[in-house]
């Protein structure tokens, strides 16, 4: 898929652990892993909004488009 999820990079920059992020987002660690590994088919705006708020970033920092 040409959409790349850079969540792990942003998480490393913010020094936040997966467990804590999942708890604050209100999702399971398994779902966060699906998101991090790029296996997710879609992301809800509400989830993206919460991610940006917690990680203090823009959606573009998390998602990136790379043409194949």
């Amino acid at each position: 898929m040409p959409i790349i999820v850079n969540l792990d990079v942003v998480m490393a920059q913010r020094k936040i652990r997966g467990k804590e992020l999942a708890e604050r987002l209100g999702i399971t660690e398994a779902n966060l892993s699906i998101l991090k590994t790029g296996k997710a088919r879609a992301v809800r705006f509400s989830t993206l909004e919460a991610l940006c708020e917690i990680l203090e970033c823009q959606p573009g920092d998390i998602l990136e488009y790379k043409s194949t």
């Binding site: 999702i27 699906i34 997710a40 088919r41 879609a42 992301v43």
Partner: protein
């Protein structure tokens, strides 16, 4: 009646039908050979729509001018009898019964396979997980089975007719094969295929829903 009870009854019924489908050909063989000594067992030529009929309908009254001879053994006892409008052959030849048994067994096993697939679909429905690719595969297999049944039966009719013509000398008799109607079988096959496609779309949607974070 709750849906669970209905599914359970369906599963039991299918299990019983499967047992019947497997046991019946062997019972047929057993009865057929046990009555062989008595020499009165009636072996119709085929268990489907392949029949012997007289060329001249008037000959039906007294069986005049009709005869049948087993080519491989002219001394083999054969006797023609009338049942309704068809002529059946009473015989004492084991080979005919054995061949009919194997063909019969093949069809029964095919039916048992179809029933097994339905039972598995019922089982996953009972567990509450019917929307998966396995169920879609089961429905596609059922669809293919329904589609192939009239084709297989037609091939059987042709082969059985050829077998009769090569093994028997028919005098005043002709072979009559009523062709099987493809419409209900093919229609059912198309309906099943469509249901399979619908479930496949459902599985895709569920997957998408599951992978939406």
């Amino acid at each position: 009646m709750t849906s669970t009870t209905f599914l359970r009854i369906g599963k039991w019924t299918i299990t019983v039908l499967q047992c019947i489908a497997i046991v019946v050909p062997f019972l047929f063989l057993l009865v057929s050979f046990s009555k062989n000594d008595a020499g009165t067992y009636d072996t119709p030529l085929g268990f489907s729509n392949v029949s012997l009929v007289p060329e001249d309908p008037d000959a039906m009254q007294n069986l005049s001018n009709v005869s049948i001879t087993y080519v491989k053994d002219e001394q083999a006892s054969t006797e023609l009898t009338i049942e309704k409008t068809k002529i059946h052959l009473r015989d004492a030849m084991a080979s005919i019964r054995t061949e009919i048994f194997f063909i019969f067994l093949f069809f029964c096993l095919l039916a048992a396979l179809g029933l097994e697939i339905v039972k598995r679909i019922i089982r996953v429905t009972e567990f509450g997980t019917p929307f998966n690719y396995r169920t879609v595969q089961y429905i596609y297999i059922l669809s293919i089975l329904f589609f192939l049944t009239p084709v297989v039966v037609s091939i059987y009719h042709y082969l059985f007719g050829q077998w009769i013509l090569s093994n028997f000398e028919l005098s005043g008799l002709v072979l009559e094969g009523q062709s099987i109607s493809y419409v209900p079988w093919v229609t059912t096959s198309i309906i099943l295929f469509t249901i399979g496609q619908v479930i496949r779309q459902g599985v895709l949607l569920r997957e998408e829903q599951d992978l939406t974070i």
